[in-house]
Symmetry: C2
Subunit: 398 residues, 2 copies
């Protein structure tokens, strides 16, 4: 998507994973809700009731897309909060079963850290002690395409002492879609609830039905940051894992305009999701094909079972930060390293778990407004940028 | 403030505590930041750096108002989150000193519940067990005006085993200002950090300097809901009390447009705060005087040391919900019961702690746009509304 600002008329933003520009209808909805729904929806007067109706409508709209009941959908302060609360409250609800949270190795940091915290807290530590407890087996490994070993995950779920399992729908960093159906079948048979992190997929591909708890991220589909979505099937037993509050999913309550804008954006992107997916998949295929001609590159992630809008590659003899900076100088914004913590540019735990190159990494996530022309320009600029960075690092001859 | 909507041309909204309409400049700022600051501020490219600059500017502006250093100011997901995180992380930072959190009896439910949770979690319970532990003395009592017994609070702070003390700057439900300076002096001498909940006061009266942690609420001063402010003096030792995250104050990061709008709103209300306070104090004095002529009423809260924009009264022989509904029918939105949980209409713990009438309660919080004419109309309508509700309840002759 071009953001025409003075001096940068042809800026191309290809780093839309987890923080996309707002959908135009979301902005309209937000404005409307600021006028109609700014009041506290828990109040009894007309303004409060109007806000409550907007909030109910938002939950209903989100529920319809997720294939959930309205009362199963909760708004949270954001996607990380959704994941933390989901792990903590589902684990607390099954405290008698155990405290192990089975995860894949490529879950978001928030899930891995919440799982470690749950295990540590149950180990008779007082709250606040966060050293990850040693957990038999650790996260379940993935293959070189980023796909979890489903047999190993199922075996881990069937082991004693498991409170919860967590498997993402698709990995936002490399695009690989996970086998959530088969894992969910096994988890149901074992009586273990499955948390599906769909934060990188909802709005881009069809929402799976195979979940007991499902987290989705409005900021990823063109809604606002500052609000998250967590759906919890009614059959799932949860318990509070923090101080009491009227709303355990969003302590203090949620902002109605944010929730309403999130719901409207979701409806809007669902309306032409299939066309958008096909269009972006074609562009991503083009990028993946073109990039593969650059010397010493590894195109990352499952070539088939993948998100339609994400493409990731790692270059040998290149520093990721330098490449992001070089591309930025030429008008292209891209991500690098870990989708969750790209600022730190620490080696991505996702790439490391896949056994692929962890340095020289570039990730693009196409917006709905990204054009074929922008992708062509990116493909034209990338080889030179890689060569220049290699030259700066003294490996130009390679 | 009149919200002219079709069919309700002269609606008067007097329930602005904790959820006020946005300041016009906050809306402008939000729109601007949506264009400039929608990207993830942790990213390295131009869009990310632009968002980071907006966020830095917002922190700097808030810090200037709060009398804090920029690096001491953190944005959170909201005021309840600020209070929960402040209690949890300050208590975790002083785990060796003890696990008691000394509070007044009129703190917000979020503070009381976080204090109870901290004590329970330290009592060798696994995380998630939320039964409040018996704590010697319990919350420190207040007098009939809502003012905390400073001597008793200081004695409680000096007792062994205290991790943290919490005293609000002013009570949002009844307006009473607390003696934070004298309590802070004693807490400093005892080496106990003091959390000051200024969620009902910042933007309305001068910010006190007497704090170690200070929480303030943008939604109360005309900024957005969905973002909170927590300032922590650099000398305060804190520790994580939950899963690790890059940003322990707002896991997953904060929405830059929300933070920016919050800061702009704060600057805007600070610019004419003194005039606004004088104007609203005169209106509140008028209401308090007029209401005192209604039979069987108790005008609540300190008549002198109080917030300029809050007025609260309790009527004998009246049901609070019925009175809110009756006033709503005549075009006036007011609060009732507890400022934090007015939807439930459970007896307010604040009113109960003060030993005043807990039923038949009405609270108004004037917006900056509330006019003298609106207040006069409210004063004209209120006696009849009270009489009608008493009649419905069969106490019309009293």
């Amino acid at each position: 998507m071009s953001h025409a600002t003075p001096g940068t008329p042809s800026r191309v933003h290809l780093d839309n994973g987890g923080r996309a520009p707002w959908h135009p209808l979301a902005r309209q909805a937000f404005e409307q809700a600021l006028g109609d729904g700014w009041a506290d929806p828990r109040r009894l007067h007309a303004e409060g009731r109007r806000a409550a109706r907007l909030l109910d409508g938002a939950r209903e709209a989100v529920a319809a897309v997720l294939g959930a009941r309205t009362q199963e959908v909760h708004f949270t302060p954001g996607h990380t909060a959704s994941l933390q609360t989901a792990v903590a409250s589902a684990a607390a609800g099954r405290r008698r079963a155990g405290s192990t949270v089975v995860t894949s190795a490529v879950e978001r940091a928030a899930v891995l850290q919440a799982a470690a915290y749950t295990a540590a807290a149950a180990g008779a530590h007082p709250a606040g002690v966060t050293e990850p407890a040693a957990r038999p087996g650790g996260p379940v490994p993935v293959d070189r395409l980023g796909r979890v070993d489903a047999d190993a995950m199922i075996a881990a779920i069937r082991a004693p002492g498991v409170a919860l399992a967590a498997l993402q729908h698709a990995n936002g960093e490399v695009g690989t879609v996970q086998p959530v159906e088969v894992v969910h079948d096994a988890a149901r048979a074992a009586g273990v609830p499955l948390l599906v992190d769909a934060g990188a997929s909802v709005g881009h591909v069809a929402v799976p039905g195979a979940w007991d708890l499902l987290a989705a991220d409005p900021a990823d589909w063109g809604g606002p940051a500052g609000v998250g979505v967590l759906a919890v099937r009614q059959r799932v037993r949860t318990a509070s894992a923090g101080p009491e509050d009227e709303d355990p999913w969003a302590p203090g309550g949620v902002s109605v305009p944010l929730a309403f804008a999130a719901a409207v954006a979701l409806q809007a992107v669902e309306a032409d999701r299939v066309e958008q997916a096909a269009r972006r998949r074609a562009l991503v295929d083009r990028v993946r094909a073109q990039v593969s001609h650059i010397p010493d590159v590894e195109v990352v992630g499952d070539p088939e079972g993948r998100l339609p809008h994400v493409a990731t590659f790692s270059f040998l003899y290149v520093d990721g930060e330098a490449l992001v900076t070089e591309l930025d100088r030429h008008g292209f914004a891209v991500g690098s390293g870990s989708a969750c913590t790209s600022s730190t540019l620490e080696p991505s735990h996702v790439l490391a778990a896949m056994g692929v190159l962890t340095h020289g990494n570039v990730r693009i996530a196409l917006d709905r407004a990204t054009t074929a022309d922008e992708i062509d320009r990116f493909c034209a600029v990338l080889p030179g940028a890689v060569a220049r960075v290699r030259e700066m690092l003294g490996v130009g001859g390679l």
